[in-house]
Assembly symmetry: C2
Amino acid sequence: MRQVSTLSSDLVAAGFHALSETLRVQILDLLRTRELCVCDLCEELAATQSKLSFHLKVLKEAELVRSRQEGRWMYYSLNLPQFVVLEQYLAEYRRFSPIIPTRSCDD
Amino acid sequence: MRQVSTLSSDLVAAGFHALSETLRVQILDLLRTRELCVCDLCEELAATQSKLSFHLKVLKEAELVRSRQEGRWMYYSLNLPQFVVLEQYLAEYRRFSPIIPTRSCDD
DNA sequence: TTGACGTATCAACTTATATTGATGTATTTT
DNA sequence: AAAATACATCAATATAAGTTGATACGTCAA
C-alpha cells in the first residue's frame, strides 16, 4: 500500500474528500437509480444550478461520476469502478493489520 | 441506505473526511503494524505534537482509531470495525445500482 | 513536592472549501 | 438570426479546516 503511486493515492484522497459532503452524497444517492441531468438534480435537491455544477465537478474529478452530453443536457451517472477502488483501499486495512501486542514507549 | 440514521451517516461522513488528508492517512498507515503513542508518531512523521494531537482527534471522532492511556502515554491503534463500516457503505453502491437505460429530459 | 515529561487544548492565524450571483458558451427552438 | 434553455465558470464572499506557538493538565521520578 505504501508503494502505491502518488497519482492513484491522490485519486483515493479525492474520492474520500468527495464522499465527505452531504450534498455530494445526496447526489450520488440519486444517481444510484438512474442517470440524471443537472436540472433533474436541481429539482430533486432544491439546490441552485451553480452549486450543483460545483459539486458535480468535485465528484467528477474524484472519478465517482461520469458525464455525457446529449444536446444541451449533461447527464451524470455513477462510475462504479472507482467505488470499488475505494472499497478495496479500505479492505487493505483489514487484510494487513495484525493485532500485535503493545510495545511500550519506555523499553 | 437512505433510511440510515443521521447519527451513523454523520459518522460515515466523518470517516471519509478523516481519510481525505495526507497526514492522517500516514498515521493510519503506521498504525497498521502496531499501536503507537503520540511521541512515536511525532518522530516517524516529523510533525509537531500539537499537529498530531489535532489529527488524532479527527481520526478518533471518526472512530477510525481507539486510544488507551498507559501512564503518561496515550496509545493509538486502528479501530478496524469502523473501516468495515465504511467499506460496506461503499459496497452498497455496487449492490443496488442497476444500469438503467437513459431517461431523456425532454420526454 | 518539585520538576520533567507526554499529551490535550486554546487563541490567533493561514489556507482550503463552499456559496452566491453574474456572465459566458453551446445548443436548440422559433 | 434572435430568444430561450442547460450548463460551466468566474469573482467575491462566507465558512470550515489545518497550523502554530503557548499554556494547562495529569503522571511520574527524584
